[in-house]
């Protein structure tokens, strides 16, 4: 992909964005960048402000402070142009359930102003992306959960957007379907589509995202490539100590005393940063540190 001067405009650029709902500050001074042609994962626990951020990018929520640029357009003033070149996959399935696969796509080809001469082709292409050729005349009602998700993604791509906004794209799906969708999303990135994806699945962000922004309480608490974030915050290796609660508490106290960072995983205590701290590492199962460690360290939240 060639990069002209125009292409250096980031696909998304947020600076000091604040969004309040009454006394609640959902987004609290957020900075976020999505460079053109990359996939950025917006990672955070529930209530961190991910969905509000996604809503602001389509001007369905208006920021109280700060600046938002999408594809070089300033929001909310130029949001309509930005929306014309964006595809949005919502968290909640909002397909027209009484319509067929094909009809849903025809409707969105119109809503996204695909020129009449290209409409037929655009719909066919989207059916191909969703891999629903044989179910084109099936009502959405009759499709499985996985098919409906594929359909939502294909619908967002019917007008060949330059930017794709994915809000929790695989939430509630079984692992096999999730992998299918990851392949689909990865394919879009390979074609040069910029992607912002909010998720609370660590693995999803790790596999798909070039860079990850971790959000907590409405702020970006860390940003970077997954590998860099892991190295910076959790070190290279970790040890998992298993045992009854009393043993876990003891191991935790000792590790902290020796200058390690730890986190509870529910059934074990993970002792992090083995290569960074000087103390003696406790015995246990050694493993590579991962993004989940970073996530929990930075957000203070356990994840399921």
């Amino acid at each position: 992909m060639s990069h002209s001067a125009r292409d250096s405009t980031p696909s998304i650029r947020l600076r000091d964005v604040v969004k309040r709902y009454g006394s609640i500050t959902a987004v609290d001074g957020l900075d976020l960048d999505v460079p053109e042609g990359t996939c950025v994962g917006l990672l955070g626990p529930n209530g961190a402000g991910k969905s509000t951020t996604m809503k602001m990018l389509t001007a369905q929520a208006i920021a109280d402070e700060g600046t938002i640029e999408v594809l070089g357009y300033e929001l909310p003033g130029e949001s309509k142009q930005a929306r014309a070149e964006c595809g949005v996959v919502p968290q909640l399935d909002n397909l027209d359930t009484t319509l067929t696969v094909e009809q849903n796509l025809v409707v969105f080809a119109h809503l996204y102003r695909v020129p009449r001469a290209e409409r037929r082709h655009a719909v066919e292409r989207a059916i191909g992306i969703a891999n629903l050729g044989e179910r084109r005349r099936a009502k959405v009602d009759e499709l499985s959960g996985g098919m409906r998700r594929r359909m939502l993604i294909a619908r967002a791509l019917v007008h060949q957007p330059r930017l794709l906004l994915l809000d929790e794209p695989t939430v509630g799906l079984d692992p096999q379907v999730r992998q299918e969708l990851w392949a689909l999303i990865d394919g879009m990135r390979a074609e040069g589509v910029s992607i912002l994806m909010s998720t609370h699945y660590i693995e999803e962000a790790e596999r798909l995202a070039d860079t990850v922004t971790i959000m907590s309480h409405g702020k970006a608490v860390a940003s970077g490539r997954p590998g860099e974030l892991i190295a910076e915050h959790a070190g290279r290796e970790a040890v998992e100590v298993y045992g009854p609660p009393a043993k876990l508490a003891e191991a935790e106290a000792q590790a902290l005393q020796n200058g390690f960072r730890t986190r509870r995983t529910g059934t074990s205590v993970a002792v992090l940063g083995l290569d960074v701290a000087n103390g003696n590492a406790p015995g246990g199962e050694r493993r590579a540190a991962n993004l989940e460690d970073v996530f929990v360290l930075l957000t203070g939240e356990e994840i399921s």
Binding site: M1, S2, H3, S4, R6, D7, Y21, E36, G37, T58, A59, Q60, A61, I62, L71, G77, E78, K80, Q81, R83, A84, E85, C86, V88, P90, L92, D93, N94, D96, T97, T98, L99, Q103, V106, V107, F108, H110, L111, Y112, R113, Q160, R162, E191, G192, V193, S194
Partner: protein
């Protein structure tokens, strides 16, 4: 499909009430309509027939003439206006609420290059068009019962459309300002039922107490009923212009309030 290969985008600021956005909203409705038109057509034909049979013949056997009309003709024309009322206000109230609250359809549409103003306008235009067409079916049924055709009847779809647009916007306002679908019952009982009855529909308003006559004057349904009667039985010049004017003002006010209400609800 490299991003650089795309045509350079224009910096033109997209305007308000754009045709492609309205067309997009309408196309969605038309395609949806293809899946439920049979039910709509059935009810809009059968309902006025029942009204005409019940009131025209049941009640008509007691009262032969009202306000200078045969009772069956009096009721036949009012049924046009009430059909327009019901076929626009209820779909607007319930359809808007369901699409907003349960199906999240409006989230999907507003993520596309469509603004709330265009969404509301497109939805109201569609409902008004449907009401304009289906509102004529009582007239056809009444003709089977002996109503004489007249040239003025050709104006009826347009009267229906104008009134239907106002009612649709009014229904969208209700959906925009009420918090739950259960609360719709209050509106149906306390607002729509009196609107429906105190409008010269089944009995003329000139025998009502004075306060009710005044109230009828601000009821858009009354103006719609009068216009339809005059279209069928003979125009009344300036009076009818005033009726048209009232319906237009009602439509414009309800339209703007509906847009404001939905914007508050959808963009926050």
């Amino acid at each position: 499909m490299s991003a650089a290969a795309r045509p350079p985008r224009s910096r033109r600021r997209l305007g308000r009430l754009e045709r492609p956005a309205l067309v997009g909203v309408l196309v969605r409705e038309v395609i949806n309509f293809s899946s439920y038109w049979r039910a709509t057509t059935f009810s809009s034909t059968v309902e006025p027939t029942i009204y005409l049979l019940a009131f025209g013949f049941g009640f008509g056997s007691l009262v032969s003439e009202v306000g200078g009309f045969r009772y069956v003709e009096f009721v036949g024309t009012c049924t046009v206006a009430t059909a327009v009322l019901f076929s626009s206000i209820f779909p607007a109230m319930f359809g808007t609420f369901v699409k907003y609250q349960f199906q999240h359809t409006y989230d999907a549409i507003l993520a596309a290059p469509v603004d709330t103003e265009e969404l509301v306008t497109g939805e109201a235009l569609w409902i008004a068009t449907r009401a304009g067409v289906y509102g004529c079916s009582p007239l056809l049924v009444a003709m089977l019962f002996g109503l004489d055709p007249s040239w003025g009847m050709l104006a009826v779809p347009f009267i229906n459309f104008t009134a239907g647009f106002g009612w649709a916007c009014f229904g969208i306002c209700i959906a925009a300002f009420l918090k739950s679908i259960e609360n719709f019952n209050y509106v149906t009982s306390a607002v729509i039922t009196p609107l429906f009855l105190v409008a010269g529909t089944f009995f003329p308003i000139d025998r009502l107490p004075e306060w009710a006559q005044v109230a009828a004057q601000i009821n858009p349904l009354y103006h719609c009923v009068e216009l339809v009667r005059h279209a069928v039985f003979g125009w009344e010049g300036l009076t009818d212009l005033a009726h048209v004017g009232t319906l237009v003002v009602f439509g414009l006010v309800a339209w703007r309030v509906a847009i404001a209400g939905m914007t508050r609800k959808l963009v926050n």
